[in-house]
Symmetry: C2
Subunit: 241 residues, 2 copies
Amino acid sequence: MDRLKIEVCVSPALFPYYENRDAIVVVTDILRASSAIVTAFMNGVERIIPVGTLEEAKAYKDKGYMVAAERDGIVRDFADFGNSPYNFTPERVRGNQIVYSTTNGTNAIQLASSGAQVLIGAYLNLSALAGHIREEGRDLLVLCAGWKNKFNLEDTLFAGALAQKVLEDQRYYTICDATLASIDLYAAARDNMMGYIEKVAQRHRLKKNNLDDVIGYCHELDLTDLIPALQGDSLVPVMNQ
Amino acid sequence: MDRLKIEVCVSPALFPYYENRDAIVVVTDILRASSAIVTAFMNGVERIIPVGTLEEAKAYKDKGYMVAAERDGIVRDFADFGNSPYNFTPERVRGNQIVYSTTNGTNAIQLASSGAQVLIGAYLNLSALAGHIREEGRDLLVLCAGWKNKFNLEDTLFAGALAQKVLEDQRYYTICDATLASIDLYAAARDNMMGYIEKVAQRHRLKKNNLDDVIGYCHELDLTDLIPALQGDSLVPVMNQ
């Protein structure tokens, strides 16, 4: 029986030390980029083009693309809208292509592109994602977008939730301390997630800008089976690849 | 009242994002460098010169210094001994200067030298260390040596133990997610530390080389009040500075 490895990388700055070209890399930025991307596909977006810099985003805007762009939670003036999942409404996104640039998440997606497959993970598609990974039968590396290369709790908790679900398949194992820590933190938080998430730094940042209305939504489980995957420079649903 | 900040940096590769020149930086490498350094001072070493590379360590050896040097747990052939705290016996170290180079710990010490004070932390000196930090009344940044820039559990658990003790002083606060995670992980582990530590990757590495005899010792609490501190390029006990 093949033994399949699970690792968690808690910051994009640590990705070079974990890189595994055979692995499926799941990028997560729970508050809010990966939750927003999954929501956009739920609402019918055709493709999302993640870009690292605001300059790239603005260049796309000048070419007529619809652009979502924020830094530190604040929508940029040239953009059509920002990073809240609630912005990606069916009226706006159905059948469209959207260029997207955020503080942490979109850079992490570009960084992850060395993996065998790059998927976008959120609580919203957790079970479908775990099922797909197990079907593919590949190693799993969860890349937490973090906050400006620092460790963050909300992404680490999600990494623990995903690792635990994939480990239910006996082919999978982990000897990665970050994975073990993530699983233990998720176990401590899961029965009172909204109480636990009260303390995380990103909640305070969002609250300061009245952007914390999405926190409950971003922790809802399994609203969709859609899994955004990187294909070339764009995200498309995994079923269409 | 001054508000004093606590942060935890889970990997040397993330240190640039946490750097705080006003902070006391506590470097920890529980299995085994920081436990060995504290033990050496308990046993009367005069000073320890931490060096990053084996080349530097060998150059000191050629000049007649006593040298402790290992990589991946294995003592190097030119060295007098390796990284086990049990190597730093009173017979060997009392009144001596020792040059020391390890896989993770000594590089982390050099990296930390931008802090206002650099101290070496282990369970062996935990309470004395927390007391000293509170007396100094400075911000605290705990730098985990990790494993080749990856997150490790045993250092993160210690960071949680230290953060929690320093937070008993009401002047201290934290909004750092890595600190909150460390505290929660330590809370999950503390009542059965040896059971918990069974799973960490470094325990498996040490066991493979029959070097795991020190794990219990490295988690003993408060065997000493001595606190090694960086002064120039050497570690000396903080009371002598």
